[in-house]
Structure formats: structure tokens, C-alpha cells
Subunit: 258 residues, 4 copies
């Protein structure tokens, strides 16, 4: 029953409310759009994300931007925390989903999800600098400036970057910072969200979700890679672990032993 | 030693080998393709998957098919195991990644990953039938027949379906079955894989990976949905759980108690 | 350099520091105690937790209290979020560890981990009351009052409970609240921790860890239970899910479609 | 409703059956035993595991053996796959449960769960040998020989070990093998299980569950350890990863590009 129950009937209240899709009818619906229309209208993966996360159609530049973020964040090598954990789990013989989840569970404020927390940390990079630009940042900037109706926050961030790079040339707008400010510009200025909706979507971690979706492609790639390589169980080298007994030799007062 | 060391230098053997991407240079590379070329050549998300999973460029119909699978499997309502667990975790107050992983960890032979295991289970559906076709299956068939150079396995599956539906009209080729056979057709006949490579990619769970990537969009959608709805902690109704003391009242011989 | 290198040798700095155990020698050590002494001294599981988490020997009443918490929190039926998710994953055919993790990932501020966040929520229960006491609370109180050298915080909580239950008889000290205040009493008054150490252990989620360890026994129990019952794939009943299309029918302004 | 419904009433069939515990009554019950009796009878953590997993009381030597396995498997240093992943997740800033699950998801046929799969792999060790015995194995053997009514399988394994160590002195019965055969002896000869029950409990991964429970103590210990050390984000050293472009330079035939 989707509509008000027919007169005289008492509907048991449902324990779950869901707004994102409906598989009960003749055709699967993504937030009101028929799956056949999903393809007829060629909304793409960006369009599917729009419907399932935002429950609305977004302008083409916005769905294109979403796809761009998924593609840009899909992988960043095997040294980062999440890829490493996916690889270690794979090498321990685990299945694709266990390996993926072992990696995903590292994503958070320090790795990947940084921008969810504060735009403030979007400045600065360990290696990249004014003279060694991060191509990913250039690609995003170029796309946004060309396609977005407004990019107030990006402009602001670039103005800040001018000040900070004058002090130190690695204090550039980094890829996390750039994606985040542009995504906020999108939410604010696409005309598809009220300001409250935009702010809520930022607050509940939507950006993090995009990163997670994108990087899942990479983590699964690392899993398949290690499986094809038949990589054996990994054990971290003993000489890279310092077992500090010092901390334990401090006298521990056991005032009232039983 | 995997690489000829420069004369006179002994390189420490690396504990990890990786073939999927390279972030060390001036530009991030996806299996040898520069990130800027990823966009210049407009390979799309299907193209990114091709490079990071298969380390090669696939024909356009193949990357399009990959995107189609991601879109078709992105969600199937909140009643299925994985969506339910993502929702329950979200309602317990958990973050996006915990909720997503709680859901992903249900995917396997019974939910989602069925086709990884045997093409044999690709026939039959609880609700759908000859007269109540699954639109998703129609969309896939149409695309594949129109675009794939060969679709031997799909043809075979459709021939089998003719036999089975003659017996019982729900014994149709289901969506899992259809995706799986078409994916095998792609691996076999795109010319991009040797038969051994194709078989290995099937064996190590690549199809499962596609489903996982697609459905992550849905699970994250459910998480954002419940968060926006401010859904409270869920507790399953007591009357839906039968606590069977019978099983315990059987006499347990404790022959040799200490 | 964390350790004085031997004369003339330069030791590579280790990337990892670890203080909890050492498996490199003739005998495995738990925070400095030989595994054979672990058994000779009969420190029990509470003693193992003490050494691996707190790196010290705790008085017998403290290790006994730790074991008591593990036993009391081991299970609370199948209706709670975590047990439900473990069961749903098991019924989707997943292995023990996937099912366990799917359940564990629901534990947090609303389910299980409540006390980590604020002692403030330790008062009140939906069913239990002054006249229908929670036996688990009684067991803890009895043990602590009899064995702890001090229980300042428990006394305080019981004084608060007197005030609150005078207003409403369900405003009792609940099991989370009781465990939490007693655990803080233990850290503060066992003589084994400085006040700073005690506060840090509370802050970093140690209590949550105890609950997780205890409840893992239950979640694994539910997994084994469902497997023995050969429970089939679960799908939540459609009539318990309200798919609200209303939310989507609101006009969405698409001011600047591309 | 636990009992047969009263005459004339039709009970809705429950979607879930559960046999392990009951929290609906005046007192929480663990497989039929009141929580107050759990403490009165002093069944210990081993007894709680017995009730929640096996739904029966086991002899004292059996519950003691269960506790012994939990204690022996609680930790084995930070170099193993699971500890490493817990540590890496912790250093990425993740919470206790995410870090724990990231570690647990590595446990399987190669790490920890080996004995679930085949008793056959219980022989052989990389470091330990006849002259450098694994103390853990000695502790288990001693306990079992002294306390178990029968230890047919252990005796057999020790006879096999005599043959294998005559060939090579590292081909000893390892700790996994020893725990596994003794656990099977327990299930077979305690008188508490029929042979079918015993075999089913082995088949569904009970031993793996014990290892998971025990090692959770260690993984949580590593999490708390790293948090107290304020360990920063870990990135694996670039020079330990060999990025093999060779594999990609092989000509890929793109026979039928679209
Ligand atoms: C592209 C992203 C694309 C970078 O991913 P990544 O390269 O795998 O991430 P890294 O692990 O390399 O971390 C990025 C950098 O921040 C640094 N960093 C992150 N957290 C840090 C911390 N707490 N302290 C110090 N440095 C930190 C890392 O050391 C790393 O530096 P490096 O690039 O020189 O190595 C990803 O982080 C990202 O930006 N995502 C944003 C997109 C998005 O949707 N994000 C969701 C929230 S914004
Ligand atoms: C589209 C898919 C698209 C279906 O997802 P879904 O609809 O959420 O899956 P469901 O939970 O509805 O399960 C599909 C059906 O199989 C049934 N099923 C699955 N395993 C079953 C089992 N072991 N016993 C009985 N029925 C089973 C389900 O009950 C369900 O029936 P229903 O559709 O009538 O409810 C997904 O399963 C799929 O097919 N993925 C294939 C694509 C892919 O890459 N797969 C990876 C491996 S093929
Ligand atoms: C024993 C404990 C033992 C209870 O576990 P549990 O019974 O499985 O937990 P429940 O899911 O039943 O939740 C406890 C109650 O709090 C209620 N609750 C929790 N969070 C809530 C929220 N945000 N809003 C409303 N009610 C909430 C639940 O509804 C439940 O009420 P109920 O008992 O009437 O059903 C466990 O919560 C606990 O207390 N652990 C404490 C021990 C410990 O180490 N805790 C770690 C941090 S304290
Ligand atoms: C004690 C246990 C106690 C060992 O745990 P652990 O020491 O952390 O395990 P490790 O990672 O060191 O692995 C054990 C050894 O087997 C080796 N090993 C495991 N799988 C391997 C594989 N597929 N190929 C080669 N070597 C393998 C490891 O390299 C390791 O050798 P090492 O001890 O010399 O380093 C644990 O494995 C165990 O035995 N559990 C058994 C108890 C139990 O309940 N098990 C559940 C199933 S038996």
C-alpha cells in the first residue's frame, strides 16, 4: 500500500520507511523513474547516483561531475591504508567482499574522508606544489569553471590558495579540498536543492559516499590483481616493528591486590 | 629481484607487486593510462573499471555493458538482506562505511553473487514469468544482441529458457543468469582476453565485484535515506522470533563430567 | 631511533611500535608475561585482557569483574540490531566472520556502546523498573559492593537513581550505566592506574571493547544456531516497508539544466 | 508465545527461530539457564560459550579447555595479517569496531582458520622445531592428556609427528593442528554430543569461532595500543611495492573494437 488505505481498513504501521527505490511493481523504479527510462533517457551512472541518493534529476553537468569524481578517486596506488588492507586480506586468502570491506573500514577522517569534516584541511600537500601541480586538481577546476553556473566556493578556495602558496609552495588546494568545495558549489547553486537540503547532504557524509564508491573500484582491482598474481600470505617484517617493553617496566602500583 | 638492477646496485626485493595503478610520477596512471588521458579519451567509468580490473582497453560496447550492469544492479529495494543490514546499522547510529560494510557482508552465493558460482542457477524466479517479464533482462538482452560481436552463451541460455518455460512459466532466464552469461560472452568474444584469462577472471569473482560496485550505490543511498528520515534504533518484533526451547530439552548425556 | 643501537650500527627506524605482545622469542609473551606463566599463575581470560589492553597485572577482583562483564554482555536475544544483522548475513549464506562483522558493525552509540559516550544515559529503561529489576544490574552491584575497595561512582549513581525512580519507576540505573560506572570505579580506585591513564582508557573506548568481546560470543552463537537450523535466505516482508513517494513528488526546481 | 498456541488461536508463523538465549522474561536466559544461575554455578566464560554455542552444559575439563584456547589464541604479535590491518585502520583514525573488523576479515584458511579446513595442515612450522618447541603446544598437550577422558586423535597426531619429525625436525604438530585435534577429541568423547552433532559442529566452523573470539582480545588490544601511542596515518613505503608495467605491455588484441 503506497496510498492512504481504503476506507475502513486499518493498515499495520510499517517499521521501515524507504524513499529510494521500488521493486514491487511491473518495473523496478529508481526514485520514481522506471528502469527502462533510466536507459531510454541515458542518465548514466551519475544519474543513477542522483536518483538513489538525492531522489531527483540533476542537470547534466552535475551528473557528469559525479562521474568525474568517481573516476578520479577510483584508485591512488597500493600504498594507502585501504588498498594495503585489501591486499593483505586478499593475500590471507579471503574472498572479494571481505577484502574490500577490510579496506573500506580504513576510510575516514585521515584517509579519504578528510573533506567531510572540514574544508579547512583542503590546503597543503606533502609532495605536490605550485610547480608540481596535481593533475587531478587541474582537471576538476577546468571542468567546473567551464560547466558550473556558479563556483563561488571554488573561487574563494583559489583566492586562499594564492595567499598560502605565496608563503609556501606546497600549500596548494589539494584534490580532496578541490572536490569538496566544488561539490558544495554544486549543491548550493544547481537550483535542485534548498540551502537546508544542501547543508544536510554535506553533513551526513555524502562526499564520503562518493569517495567510497569510487575507491571501491580500486580496492576490488587490487583484490583481483593479487589473486591473479597468486600472492602468498603476507607477514610484516619483524624488524619494522619496535616492541617497546620500556612502557611496561614502569612500576605499576598495585595498592590493593586481592 | 624482479627487475634488472642497475649495475652494481642490489635492490631490496619488494614485498608487494601491483599492476593496477601508479601514483608516483608526475601524473596518476591507471594501468598505464594517464589520468588526464582518461578524461581526454572519455573512457568513462566502464573504461576505468576495464583498466583497473583488466589492465587493458576494452571495446566501447564492453565498457558500456559494464556501466549498464552497474546501473541495473544499483538497487533492488530495501527488503533484500544487504539493504536491510545497511538500514539496521544506520538506524543503530553507525557511520556510512560501517553501514555499507554491514550490508556488503551479506552478498554471496544466495544474495547477489549467485552467478559467480554456477550458470546453472540462472533459471527461475519467484515472481517474474513469461507473462510478467523482468524488464532488466529485456534491457540486457536487447543491448547485447545489438552490440556484441558474438553472444553464443546468451543464445544457448535463451534456448534452454524456451525448454524450461514450456514446463513452467516462471522458469525464465533471470537477471543474474542473463548478466552472467553475457559477461562470459564478453570475456570470450571481445578479442581482448585469451580463453585462459577469461576463465580466470570468471573464477576469481569478477562478476561478483561488478554487483558489489553497483549495489554499493544503493546501500549508500539507503544509509543517506535513513539518516535524512532520522530513523530510530530498530528492534525486531518479539513475536516474529520463535524461541525454541524444545531443542534444548533433549536429554544431553554427560557421560564423564569432571 | 627508539633504542640505543649497538655501537657502530645504524638501525632502520621501525614504522610500527607495539607494546602488547612479543612472539619473537622462545616463548610468546603477553605484555612481558610468558605464556607458560599465564597458565601457571592462572590469570584467566580477565588476566589476559588486563595484560593485552592495560599491560599490567590487575588485582583479582578486577580481572573477575572483567570476566563478569564479558559473561553478562555475551548475549541479549536475537531481536537487537547486531544479532539480527549476524542472523540475516548467516541466512544469506555467509561465513562466520562475515556474519559476525555484519553484526559488530551495528554496535555504537545507540546499541551497546552507549556508555562510552556519556554516563548521562545510564538511567532509564523501556521495560525494567523498580518492581521489575534487571537481574544483571543486581549481580553487578552485589559483586562490586562486596569486592571493590571503593565504588564512589556507583554509590553516586545509586543516589541519583533514588531521586529519579521517585519520579518514575522505570528511571532505574540500567545495565549499561551500571557496568560503566563500576568500570570507572575500577580504573580510578584499583591503584593500578594514574588518573590520567584511567581517563584515557575511558576516552578511547575500552568499555566498548569489553562489550564487543562479550557480545561476539553471542553473535557467533547466532551464526552457528542459524547454520544448524539451515535457515533460508531472509527477505523482509514487503508490507513492513512503507515506500514513500510523497517525498519525491515535491516540485524540484531545476533552475539551470545543462 | 513460546508454547503451542491456545486452542482456537492461529499464531502468525515467525520468520526467525532462535535457540540460544531468551531475554523476554523476568530474567535473561542463556540456553535455558538463568543469568543468575550462570554466576551462582560459576560456569565461567567457557560455560557461557558452551551454552550459547552448544546449548548444553559441558564437563568442567571441556569449558576449561575452551578458556585455554581463548587465552592461547588471544594474540600473536603485530606482524600477522589481522593485527596489521587492525593497526593500519586504527592509524587511519578509525573507531574500535571498524579497526577490529578490518582485522577480523583477514582470518580464514591461511591465517587463523587453517584447522577448520583440514587436519592435514596441522603439521609443520616455519621456525619452531623439535628442539625449539612451541610452548603453546606443550601447554595444550599437557592439559588434554591429564584431563580429557579420551584423546584418540591427539595420540594419532603425535604418532604422525614422530614419523614426520624423523624426516625433518620442523615437521612438528603445530599449534593450530594441536588445538584442532584436541577439540575434535572433546566433541567426540565428552559424551555430550552425538557423532553427527560433533561432525556438524566441526563442519560449520566452530573452531574458527573460538580463534576469532580469542584473537578479538588481541586485535582490540592493538587498537587501544596504537591509540594510546597516538600513531599517525601509515603509508606503506613506496620502495616495497614493485609496480610491474611489464604485464601490461603485452600486446592485447582488440579484434573487434566497436
Ligand atoms: C583522492 C583522494 C582522492 C586522495 O586519495 P589518496 O591519494 O588515496 O589519499 P592519500 O592516502 O594519498 O591521502 C592524501 C594525502 O593526505 C594526507 N593526509 C591525510 N590525512 C592526514 C592526516 N591526518 N595527517 C597528515 N596527513 C594526512 C596523506 O598523507 C596523503 O598525503 P600524500 O598524498 O602526500 O600521500 C581522496 O583522499 C580524496 O580526496 N577524496 C576526496 C573525494 C571525496 O569524495 N572525498 C570524500 C570526502 S572529501
Ligand atoms: C539483480 C540482482 C541483480 C538481483 O539483486 P536483488 O534483486 O537484490 O536480489 P534478490 O535478493 O532479489 O535475489 C534475487 C532472487 O533470487 C532468490 N534467491 C537467491 N538465492 C537464493 C537461494 N539460495 N535460494 C532461493 N532463492 C534464492 C531470491 O529470493 C530473489 O528472489 P526474488 O527476486 O523473487 O525475491 C543481483 O542478484 C544480480 O543478479 N546480480 C547479478 C549481477 C552480478 O554482477 N552478479 C554478480 C554475480 S552474477
Ligand atoms: C547489556 C547491554 C549489556 C545491553 O545490550 P542489549 O540488551 O543487547 O542492548 P539493547 O539493544 O537491548 O539496548 C539496550 C536498551 O537501550 C535502548 N536504547 C539504546 N539506544 C537507544 C536510543 N538511542 N534511543 C532509544 N533507546 C535506546 C534499547 O532500546 C534497549 O532498550 P530495551 O532493553 O528495552 O530493548 C549492552 O548494551 C551494554 O550495556 N553493554 C554495556 C557494557 C559495555 O561494556 N558497554 C560498552 C559501553 S558501556
Ligand atoms: C595460534 C594460532 C593460534 C596461530 O596464530 P598466529 O600465530 O597469529 O598465526 P600466524 O599468522 O603466525 O600463522 C601461523 C603460521 O602458519 C603459517 N601459514 C598459515 N597459512 C599458510 C599458508 N597458506 N601458506 C604458508 N604458511 C602459512 C604462517 O606463515 C605462520 O607461520 P609462522 O608462525 O612461522 O609465522 C592460530 O593460527 C591458530 O592456531 N588458531 C587455532 C585455534 C583455532 O581455534 N583455530 C581455528 C581454526 S583451527
Amino acid at each position: 500500500e503506497r496510498e492512504p488505505p481504503e476506507l475502513g481498513l486499518i493498515r499495520k504501521p510499517a517499521a521501515f520507511i524507504s524513499i529510494i527505490s521500488d521493486e514491487r511493481g511491473q518495473e523496478l523504479m529508481y526514485a520514481g523513474l522506471r528502469i527502462s527510462d533510466v536507459f531510454k533517457e541515458n542518465i548514466g551512472i551519475g544519474g543513477v547516483v542522483s536518483r538513489l541518493w538525492f531522489k531527483r534529476r540533476l542537470p547534466a553537468y552535475a551528473t557528469k561531475f559525479i562521474e568525474m569524481v568517481l573516476m578520479l578517486t577510483a584508485d591512488h596506488g597500493s600504498a594507502v591504508s585501504g588498498a594495503m588492507n585489501s591486499i593483505v586480506a586478499t593475500r590471507a586468502g579471503k574472498d572479494l567482499i571481505s577484502s574490500l570491506c577490510s579496506g573500506l573500514l580504513t576510510i575516514g577522517s585521515r584517509f579519504g574522508g578528510a573533506l567531510d569534516e572540514a574544508a579547512a584541511i583542503g590546503i597543503g600537500h606533502k609532495i605536490k606544489s605550485v610547480n608540481n601541480a596535481d593533475l587531478r586538481v587541474e582537471l576538476i577546476k577546468e571542468f567546473v569553471i567551464k560547466n558550473f553556473p556558479n563556483h563561488t566556493l571554488l573561487d574563494y578556495a583559489l583566492a586562499v590558495e594564492k595567499v598560502t602558496t605565496a608563503k609556501k609552495d606546497t600549500l596548494i588546494l589539494n584534490v580532496d579540498g578541490c572536490i569538496a568545495v566544488c561539490f558544495v558549489d554544486l549543491l548550493h547553486d544547481s537550483g535542485a536543492f534548498s540551502r537546508d537540503e544542501a547543508d544536510e547532504y554535506i553533513k551526513i557524509g555524502t562526499l564520503n559516499g562518493l569517495f567510497v564508491c569510487g575507491r571501491s573500484i580500486g580496492f576490488i582491482g587490487h583484490h583481483l590483481d593479487q589473486k591473479r598474481l597468486r600472492a602468498p600470505l603476507y607477514r610484516h617484517p619483524a624488524d619494522d616493528i619496535f616492541i617497546n617493553m620500556q612502557d611496561m617496566s614502569q612500576p605499576r602500583v598495585l595498592a590493593k591486590p586481592a
